[in-house]
């Protein structure tokens, strides 16, 4: 399980950091800089929380459902959107774009409600596992105040992408997110693209792995990358309906933080191998390949890049 792998990675990092601690403390009891610079320090701090604490605020969260076509999760132009909606309506005449956007707004509000009340069960029926699990892990723990702040956000959505394939319907909603005026009148709104997906075959509550591999027909057993352990084809999931599966946020504060993380990794590319998966997923693949091509290729093959 990804979260477990991330957590184990953090524990390894914490142990490594403890072994590498410099001897004497500095002024005011503060320890001197870690030998590996800011990134190890950053990892150590991340390790003080559950892996999900960062995942719930990271710019790139979640993952498309297994077997999703690569182009399905990219917003298209107006023509592509209209064509996507037309294709979907042929198969599902009940689909109403306006009603869907209303539903998406409700999902955003449900997530905010989960944050503000520290009750992740509110949004469980409409979030895929990879989005919901980190939120559930944070729960009412020590990060409650932080998640409360995320509960203050409000947004309105617009449909910007629609795609259908043999496994899933995929829609992309662009939210314009803002903090309450009384909180930060100067903070400009920012866009967040949320991917919503539903399986053509209904199942799960809210989602479950298909019982059989569509490639080889064997009973569904997944490898570390989430593929069939026999034929290595992606095993799809069944959903009860539309679920939010990914979030790409352009929150300026978190983007700046991500940039700082990337610079730290540039300075210490050897540390990439020890970085937890959810941090690696924040780095654009081309940037990762530029920093450390060998590591990037291997991580991709291992399915660690989401």
């Amino acid at each position: 399980m990804k979260l477990w792998k991330a957590w184990k990675s953090l524990k390894v990092l914490e142990a490594a950091q403890e072994e590498d601690q410099p001897g004497p403390s500095g002024p005011s009891g503060a320890r001197g800089p870690a030998p590996h610079g800011g990134m190890m320090q950053m990892f150590q701090r991340m390790g003080q929380f559950a892996a999900g604490s960062f995942e719930v605020v990271a710019p790139n969260r979640g993952a498309p459902l297994p077997g999703t076509a690569p182009n399905a999760v990219e917003p298209g132009d107006a023509d592509a959107l209209a064509a996507g909606i037309g294709t979907l309506k042929q198969r599902d005449p009940a689909f109403d774009p306006d009603g869907f956007v209303q539903f998406a707004n409700q999902v955003f509000a449900a997530v905010c409600r989960s944050f503000s009340t520290a009750d992740p069960t509110i949004s469980r029926p409409v979030l895929a596992d990879r989005l919901w699990e980190p939120m559930a892990e944070v729960g009412g723990g020590p990060m409650a105040r932080m998640t409360q702040m995320f509960g203050m956000l409000s947004a309105s959505g617009a449909l910007v992408g629609m795609h259908t394939d043999p496994l899933y319907d995929t829609a992309i909603v662009r939210f314009t997110v803002q903090v309450p005026p009384e909180m930060g009148a100067n903070m400009p709104p920012w866009p967040e693209d949320w991917t919503f997906q539903r399986s053509l075959v209904v199942g799960g509550n809210p989602m479950a792995l298909a019982e059989q591999c569509p490639g080889c027909g064997s009973a569904a057993k997944v490898d570390v990358a989430g593929n069939c352990q026999f034929c290595h084809q992606a095993i799809p999931v069944r959903t009860i309906g539309w679920l939010a599966t990914t979030v790409h946020s352009h929150n300026p504060m978190m983007e700046q933080q991500t940039q700082a993380m990337i610079e730290a990794m540039r300075a210490n590319p050897d540390q990439l191998e020890m970085a937890p998966d959810f941090m690696l997923r924040q780095i654009p693949p081309e940037t990762l390949a530029e920093i450390a091509p060998d590591i990037a290729a291997r991580l991709k093959a291992e399915g660690r890049l989401g």
């Binding site: 403390s25 599902d92 009940a94 689909f95 539903f103 409360q148 203050m152």
Partner: protein, 261 residues
């Protein structure tokens, strides 16, 4: 009056008034009215009241010590370790303050901004009575880090004032050298940022108190004040995001859109 309250408030982390976030409470029985005067005459009278019983109390030394305390605060933000402040804060100040430091761990960018704060300290008010000596230090704080322009941080979150009230029992006196920080074991003077052993008696001095404790802090930092006010309002509304309630009425759980077949 700046402090907004006339009696000690047992609750910590409450906004005293719009524009100020206040944490902690004065020691029980503190005569707050005697701290209201901040003009030079009142300030001199307050200092004189302390010096009447403690001739070694030196305002300049106290300001120097208070400056190092703020330096410890920025170190706490930088290292995400609030424990360096434990020995100089009362419980009602330390609990919310350490919570704030821990909160910043999740957003290291904010942590870096806060760690860049520098402060000029000055005595704002002072008083000595039969129970306590009380000194209010005003820190004029400026954030020196380059702030991402996209964040559009307003002036009130880049420079602000913090008023820290330090108190000690009236039975305490200052070391003959005028140093505020002392070894808790032998009473010898110590540099406030000393760690390890007292150079005189070799006792561990990392937990020295010097008698003075910050019992109340108040800040005008815009972002913190607004965040707290919004959280308070949200809490009063039972956790419902205010913006959502205003825009869309009561919360409705998402309902899956209809689906043919």
């Amino acid at each position: 009056m700046r402090w907004g309250k006339t009696k000690p408030d047992p609750s910590a982390g409450q906004p005293a008034a719009t524009g100020i976030y206040q944490a902690g409470c004065l020691l029980p029985g503190t005569d707050e009215t005697s701290l209201a005067g901040t003009d030079p005459d009142a300030l001199n009278a307050g200092i004189a009241a302390i010096r009447a019983r403690d001739a070694n109390f030196e305002p300049s030394q106290f300001i120097a010590w208070a400056s190092t305390i703020y330096g410890m605060a920025t170190a706490a933000w930088r290292t995400a370790d609030p424990t360096v402040l434990r020995s100089v804060m009362s419980d009602t100040v330390y609990v919310p303050y350490s919570g704030f430091v821990v909160l910043l761990k999740i957003v290291p960018v904010l942590e870096r901004y806060m760690a860049s704060a520098t402060a000029q300290a000055a005595i704002l008010a002072a008083d000595g009575d039969e129970r306590y000596d009380t000194v209010i230090i005003r820190y004029s704080v400026v954030m020196t880090a380059d702030i991402d322009r996209r964040l559009e941080v307003e002036v009130g979150s880049r420079q602000w004032t913090e008023d820290w009230t330090f108190q000690r029992p009236a039975t305490y006196t200052t070391h003959a050298s005028g140093k505020v920080a002392v070894c808790p074991n032998c009473g010898a003077p110590a540099n406030p940022d000393d760690v390890g052993q007292c150079k005189y008696c070799k006792a561990n001095i990392t937990t020295r108190t010097a008698g003075w404790l910050a019992t109340r802090t108040a800040t005008t930092m815009g972002g913190l004040v607004r965040a707290h006010n919004v959280l308070q309002k949200q809490h009063a509304m039972g956790g419902v995001p205010a913006a959502w309630t205003q825009a869309s009425g009561p919360f409705q759980p998402p309902q899956q859109p209809p689906r043919a077949g």
